[in-house]
Amino acid sequence: MIPGAYSLDVSAALPEIVVASAGCLLLLLEAFLPVARRTFAAISILAAGSYMVLLERIPGSDAFAGSFDGSILARTFGLFLGLAAVLTLLVARPYLERAVAAGLIASDGEFYPLLLWGMVGISLMARGLDLLVIFLGLETFSLCFYILAAYFKSSEASSEAGLKYFLTGAFASSFTLFGIAWIYGKTGSISIARFADAHVGADPLLAAGLVFLLSGFAFKIALAPFHSWAPDVYAGMPTPAVAFLSVAPKGAALVVLFRVFAGVFDGVVPGRFRAALAAIAILSMIVGNLVALAQRDVKRLLAYSGIAHMGYVAIGLAVFGRDALAAVLLYLFAYALTNIGAFAAVAALYRDERESHPVGLLAGMGTRSPLAAGVLALCMISLGGIPATAGFIGKFFVFKAAIEKDLVWLAVVGVLNSLVSLGYYLRVVYVLYMREPVEDELPAPLAPESRLALVLCGLGVLGLGIFPARLWQIVQAASRALPSLRP
């Protein structure tokens, strides 16, 4: 190998290397020089921040023999990933400190390295141009999040979450790997760029491989009918970890699906495949929204709401094409701000992490904890897709993409579903503001980091809702980075 190319490769992977090293550093610090948690959080945030900055400077071409993407798509995704990580880390510090004080865990030092390594895995997934790199990323992030799900060792719910996530996740990974094997068998390559050369777009064996691959990733995205792990895992997992899990890996999995489909089908998804994707989208929206109506636990509610939202995103997958990818990316940004904002508020408003998180406990928080309650209400409205919030913008572009491809009925199903979803989102707003408090004890005052995270999410939701033009330009440019994707 030429030495020059080698250093080019390293600089392409520098963002991931920095984040992974920061994780190692934190682990060593935890073992030999336990410093204040604020420092841990600060180092992690610094790592996530420098990930975003360094990504802007990576060489724009592929690296590692065409298996690692350096295009604007990778950079845009990195922006999303870094944003999600920074917001999550802001929420994590005060939350974990309370968990330590409550005796749920002995120490919270490993949380930060695990999250950072998970982030590296997700980044590998999204940047991989080669099915093995993608799988490597998938496993790296999954392993970290299996541990994070079971992080509260003395909590039964958390152990249950860990076990469920591990079992279903391992199952899903094996599906993915099986799918990769079939695709390799048929096309003779693991590099996405070569798939088109094989000219086997309509081959049944390849289709079977793609179905396996799709099922594996649908598990990670929590699309119906592969969603059943989500509610239990969300309910038991530490809230900041859920905030990250509910957003970042789903985004990476979607980027991978777009890449693979664009590669295999040379930009045009065959009708039968589109029908299957549309069916998954509709099923996810309906199952997510209807079951969410019956939820009394806010984290389970957000789990089902997440299933429904990935259903809306899957409309974009079914529509396919450049504008659909741009719309999906925009939706991911909107969803990240909104969902992490909601989880940040949930982390701030519930005192006892040993117990479940019934919506009823939020009663009266509108006056008792105005900032957290206000942001939670705003995020609910945004998730419900009311204009002037980020959630509306996401839906706007996804539905527009569907209508452009003459899938008006899919957009109609989408809007009817968002009507149903308002039933449970408004319930949260109602409990926050229109019910008398059930507890005498006032909520704990907000830590400065939580405050910052809440304000950032709130402003982000409104800002993206009112001024989406700049971000739309960016995601549109990013969607052009997939050369085989048609307009």
Partner: protein, 507 residues
Amino acid sequence: MIAVPHLLTWLIFLPAAGAALLLLFPARAVTEVKTAGIVVALATFVLSLGLWSYDPAVAAFQFGERVRWIPALGITYTVGIDGISLLLVLLTTLLTPVALIFSISHVKENVRGFTASFLVLETGMIGTLAALDVALFYVFWEVMLVPMYLIIGIWGGKRRIYAAVKFFLFTMAGSLLMFVAILYMAVQYHRMSGVWSFSLEDFYGMSFPIVSQTLLFFAFALAFMVKVPLFPLHTWLPDAHTEAPTAGSIILAGVLLKLGVYGYLRFALPFFPQAALRFAPWLAGLALVGIVYGSMVAYAQKDMKRLVAYSSVAHLGLVMLGIAALTSTSTSGAVLQSVNHGLSTGALFLLVGVLYERRHTREIEAYGGVAKFVPVTATLFLVATFSSIGLPGLNGFVGEFLILTGTFNAPGAPRWWAIVATSGMILSAVYLLTLVQRVFWTPVRHEENRSLTDIHASEFVVCAALVLAMLAIGLAPNLFLDKIHGSVDTLIAFVRAKSAAPMEILR
């Protein structure tokens, strides 16, 4: 009057800026919050008077502004007003301070949130009326729902949650299909012309084959008919009104319902004229059912607010009839009557609120003969009633008369429409005068009513303002009609011309 640059933008965003400012006030500074809210609302009203310089001789949108918003999709911030929206904007800026001033002594909980909700709502309402970009319109249209939901849900009566959710879901259900329809139209425009646009002008230029036109028409009409509300989509209204706080009812009946009328005139009718004309008899039929049914149900009510709410169903049925007839006279009357209804029903809700705040019941049975103890309230109530039933000299007469004569003489409309509708005027006199009689004139039945106190200064001032406006429109209707006529004629001419053209996608 000094011309203020960017007047409409000021009007739209001043209330929202005021609301944002209020959130910086400490929650305990109740008096300061109330004062600041009222100052902002009054300032908006004073500014809005500058719109009166609207020149009806120029048959186009005035006070126009255009800024690019989402350039990739041709979405702009375009605002402007014409004769149809002018008076409704003024009505909005009048009723918001009225609602806030009325609430000075009646709202005690979370005053900051209450005031901020009203100001955000005002931004939504003015924005909806001024928006000339369909995407912008939709944003404002939906933004209104959230503060109204909070106003009913937080400060409402016993069954407020049910009413608030019903209000939200009904209106949302109506408008979501409109959202898809807007996107569909924009996509069609893009296919046809190669450029993205959501501007009203560009959408006016499009015409659709009858099948898709009918579907699109229904998607738009449903959103507006729910809001109006037209029978049988009215069931959310009595609940929302009964449970909303008085100030909320004033705005709800005064402005929000009119936005349905406005939306129909501005969007549904000129976008899809063939479909609209084809279904005009159905619209008229539903409007007539609404008039008779609303009146009869109103007569049967035991709760004063529910009675006034059902009277709104009847009155707005009349407004929609005027639009269905689509003559210059009847449609101008419909626009004016929208404003009239805002004034008279606003005043009625306000006065019912005055009684309610003192006796904490809206049951008609709980009153009787109270005119002796609250003479000023009784007088004002009577004036508002006369306005509502269309007594000559007051505003209601002008609007109703124009709608009825316009409909009677409409070339395409059967005579019996106007005849049936006239029964609505008689019925409204029956149920409203019965209400006045049972509340104010019959012998005193309940001793506790003897200690009722009359209307406060702050309540009186705002009610007097409404009465003055009623008198002004009633005595000098041409002053107002002159502003309306030109735009209505332009609209009707446009609709007639477009409906005569072939139904295909045109440039």
